[in-house]
C-alpha cells in the first residue's frame, strides 16, 4: 500500500489529497449538522461556499492556467443562474424528481454560460493584450442590465415576452405567472440545492479541471500562457486552445450559478451578486489562493467567505478586520520575505521539505 502511494505520480497524489480534504470536511460538517452542534449560521453558509468555490475554480482555469484576466465571471454565473432557474420554473411541475430537475437545470445553465463564453471568445481571444478583461467587465454589466428590463410571463396561451415595459406583456392577468419580472427577477424558485449536491458538483468540477490541465490540451494551454510566440512556433493553434479553456471556465462558472439560484427562493441581478463587485471578489479568492492552484482557490474561498460572517459579532468593524486580514494574507502569500520565512519554518518541521513553486496542485 505504501508503495502504491510513493510510486504514484506526484500530480495524482496531489489531486487525491484535495479530494480527500473535501470529503473529510464534508463528513465532519455532515456529522456536526446531524448531531445538531452546527449553528444555523454555519449551516446556511455551506451551499454558498460550494458555489463560490466552484466559480473560483472556473476562474482559476482562465486566470491561472490560461493566463487571461477575466473580470466578468460573475456574469457567466448570472447566465447559469437565470437560465437554470427559468428551466426549473417552467418544468418543475412536470418532472417527478427534484434531483432530475436539478440535473436538467444544471445542463441548461452550464450550456448557456458556455455558449456565451464561446461567443465572447470568438472575437476577443484572437487579440493579444488585456482585451478579455475589458470585454468581460462590460459583459457582466450588460447582462445585469438586460435581465433587469426583461419580462417573461406564462399563461395558458404560452410564453409572453416584453422588453423594458411590463404592461406590454399581454398576459392573462388572472392565470398568468411571472417567470422573470424585470428588476424583481425570479421569485419562488424551489430550493433544491443542498450541501451534498454542492460538494458533488465541486468534486466534479475539480475532476474536470485537473484532467484538463494534466492532459496534452492542458500542456498546450499552459504553453500559451508561458510563451505565446514559442507555443505558436511549435504549431499550437492558439485561438483554439484559448477558446477551449475559456469556454470550459465559463461553463464551470455557469454550473456554480445554477447551484446558487436553487439555494435562495429569489434571484435578482444586482451588482452585488452578479456584477463587477462579485467578479472581483472571486478574483480575490483566486489570487489569494494562488494562481493555478485549484486547492488554494477552494481554501481561500472557504476562509474569505466565512470570515465576514463569523466576524458578525464585531458589527460594522468587521469590514475593517476583513480588509486587514486580506492585506495580511496577501503579504503572507506573495511577499518575497514571507516566502523565505515560510520555507525556513517548514524546513524546520520534521516532515518539512523545501517548498515547490509553479506546480499545479
Amino acid at each position: 500500500m505504501k508503495n502504491f502511494f510513493t510510486n504514484m505520480k506526484k500530480s495524482t497524489k496531489n489531486h487525491l489529497i484535495t479530494y480527500a480534504g473535501i470529503i473529510v470536511a464534508y463528513a465532519i460538517m455532515q456529522i456536526l449538522c446531524g448531531t445538531g452542534v452546527a449553528s444555523n449560521l454555519i449551516k446556511g453558509l455551506l451551499v454558498p461556499i460550494c458555489v463560490y468555490s466552484i466559480v473560483a475554480i472556473g476562474l482559476n482555469l482562465c486566470v491561472g492556467i490560461l493566463g487571461e484576466l477575466s473580470l466578468g465571471h460573475a456574469g457567466f454565473m448570472c447566465i447559469g443562474a437565470f437560465t437554470g432557474a427559468l428551466a426549473t420554473k417552467l418544468l418543475y411541475d412536470y418532472i417527478p424528481s427534484k434531483i432530475l430537475m436539478f440535473l436538467i437545470a444544471l445542463v441548461i445553465g452550464t450550456f448557456f454560460a458556455a455558449l456565451f463564453g464561446f461567443l465572447i471568445g470568438i472575437p476577443v481571444l484572437r487579440l493579444k493584450g488585456d482585451y478579455l478583461a475589458i470585454v468581460t467587465l462590460a459583459f457582466g454589466q450588460i447582462i445585469i442590465n438586460i435581465i433587469n428590463v426583461l419580462y417573461i410571463g406564462k399563461d395558458e396561451a404560452g410564453l409572453h415576452f416584453a422588453f423594458s415595459n411590463p404592461n406590454a406583456i399581454n398576459m392573462n392577468e388572472e392565470t398568468g405567472v411571472w417567470l422573470i419580472n424585470g428588476a424583481k427577477g425570479i421569485t419562488k424558485i424551489p430550493s433544491i440545492s443542498n450541501f451534498t449536491i454542492g460538494v458533488i458538483l465541486l468534486i466534479v468540477s475539480l475532476f474536470i479541471v485537473y484532467h484538463l490541465v494534466d492532459s496534452r490540451t492542458g500542456r498546450a494551454i499552459m504553453a500559451i500562457r508561458d510563451n505565446r510566440i514559442a507555443a505558436e512556433s511549435v504549431g499550437i493553434n492558439i485561438t483554439k486552445y484559448k477558446m477551449l479553456a475559456f469556454t470550459i471556465s465559463a461553463a464551470i462558472a455557469g454550473a456554480g450559478g445554477v447551484l446558487y439560484s436553487h439555494n435562495l427562493s429569489t434571484l435578482t441581478a444586482t451588482t452585488n451578486n452578479f456584477g463587477y463587485n462579485m467578479s472581483i471578489m472571486i478574483l480575490v479568492y483566486v489570487v489569494l489562493g494562488g494562481m493555478g492552484s485549484f486547492r488554494g482557490s477552494i481554501i481561500a474561498t472557504v476562509i474569505l467567505y466565512m470570515l465576514p460572517e463569523l466576524l458578525r459579532g464585531l458589527s460594522d468593524y468587521r469590514m475593517l478586520f476583513y480588509a486587514i486580514i486580506l492585506i495580511g494574507l496577501m503579504l503572507f502569500n506573495w511577499s518575497p520575505k514571507a516566502i523565505v520565512w515560510r520555507q525556513k519554518v517548514l524546513s524546520l518541521l520534521p516532515f518539512g521539505k523545501k517548498g515547490e513553486k509553479g506546480k499545479v496542485e
Binding site: 465532519i28 444555523n40 433587469n148 411590463p166 428588476a183 444586482t270 451578486n273 488554494g296 459579532g313 517548514l346
Partner: protein, 383 residues
Amino acid sequence: MKFKKLMSMALVGVMTLATVAGCTSGQSSNKDTFKIGGIGPLTGPAAIYGTNVMNAAQIAVDEINAAGGINGYQIEFKAQDDTHDAEKAINAYNSLKDWGMQVLLGTVTTTPCVAVAEKTAEDGMFQITPSASSTDVIVNDNTFQVCFTDPNQGTASAQYIGMNEIATKVAIIYNSSDVYSSGIEATFEKEAANQGFEIVSIEAFTDDTATDFSTQLQKAQSAGADLVFLPIYYTPASIILKQANDIGYAPVFFGVDGMDGILTMDNFDTSLAEGVILLTPFAADADDEKTQKFVAEYQKRYGEIPNQFAADAYDGIYAIKEAMEKTGCTPDMSVKEIGEKIIPIMTQIKVDGITGEMTWNANGEVSKTPKAVIIKNGAYVAY
C-alpha cells in the same frame, strides 16, 4: 506543497472551530426577555435606510422598556447587516436565530426580504417589515408590512394627479434596476390609462448611470411634459432637480415616499425642491405630540432628522407590542407559538402610530392614508 497540506488541515480546523463558536453563542436565550431581531443594510450603498430603521427601532424598544416592557417583560433588540443582498440576509437571519430571535422586524429592502420571508415561513416566525414594499414580500401568511405596497403607491399617485388635475402631460423618470422604482412605475402607467392625463415620455436609468439625467430631462422637456413623476429615492431625485434647474426646465415634480429625506440631504440646495409634491405617510415636522417626541429623541441621539423609513420601523415595533399584548405572549414561548398567536390577531389590531392609523388585512398589507405634501419654504405643507 507541504504548506498547502498544512493549509488544508487548517481549513478543517477553522470549520470545526467556527461550528463550536457558533454553537456556544447559540443556545444562550434567557427566558425573561423578548428577543426581536432586525435585518437591514447597515453598510453599503443602501446603508442610510438600514441605519435609520435600526436607530428608530432601538428608540421604540427603549421607550417600551422604560414604560415597563411588553406584558411586563423587557425586550432586547439586535440588528444584523445584510448589505442589501439576499444571500447575506439569509446569513444574517441564521445568525439572529442562533441568538434566539423570536420575532423579526425586517428586512428593510425588498429583494433580501423576499428571500428571508421564505425562511420565516418555514420556521413559522412572525415577520413585519418596515419598508420592503413589493407585493412579493407578503405572499406568505406570516409576513406583514408597515409601508405601502408598490402597486398602491403607483395607483394612488396616478389617481391623485388625475383627480386633482395637476397636469395633462406627464413624463416619468425611473430606476429600471430597482425593484421598488420599477414596481411603482408599472402600476402608475397602468392606472394612468384610466385618468385624464397623458404619459408623454418614459425614461429609465440604472444604479450605474444615476449621476447624469440631462438626456432624460431633455426628452421630457421636448415632449412638453408639465409634470415629471419620480418614483425614485431622493439621492438621484436631488440630481434631477438640480439638472432640471440648470437647463431651465420647471415642471411640477411629483415623488413618492422614497423622495422623503430630500430636505435633510447634505450639500443640497433645498430651494431647488420648492414646489415638489410627494406622497408620504410621514412628515417629520408634523405637529402631533408623538411625532415631535420621536423626532426630538432621534435628533438628540443621532444628530439628524429621521426619514419615513425610521418612522415605519418605530411603528413596526409598536405593532409587535400591540399584537403581543393582545395575545398575552411570554418570552418562554417558542418562535412558532408566538407566530401562531400573533399572526391571526394582526388583522384585528389597530395601531395609532406616527405614520397614521394602521390596520392590516389578511394578505399582510397595511391600510393607512397617504398624505400628499408640497414643499414650501423648505418644509412640508399639506397639499
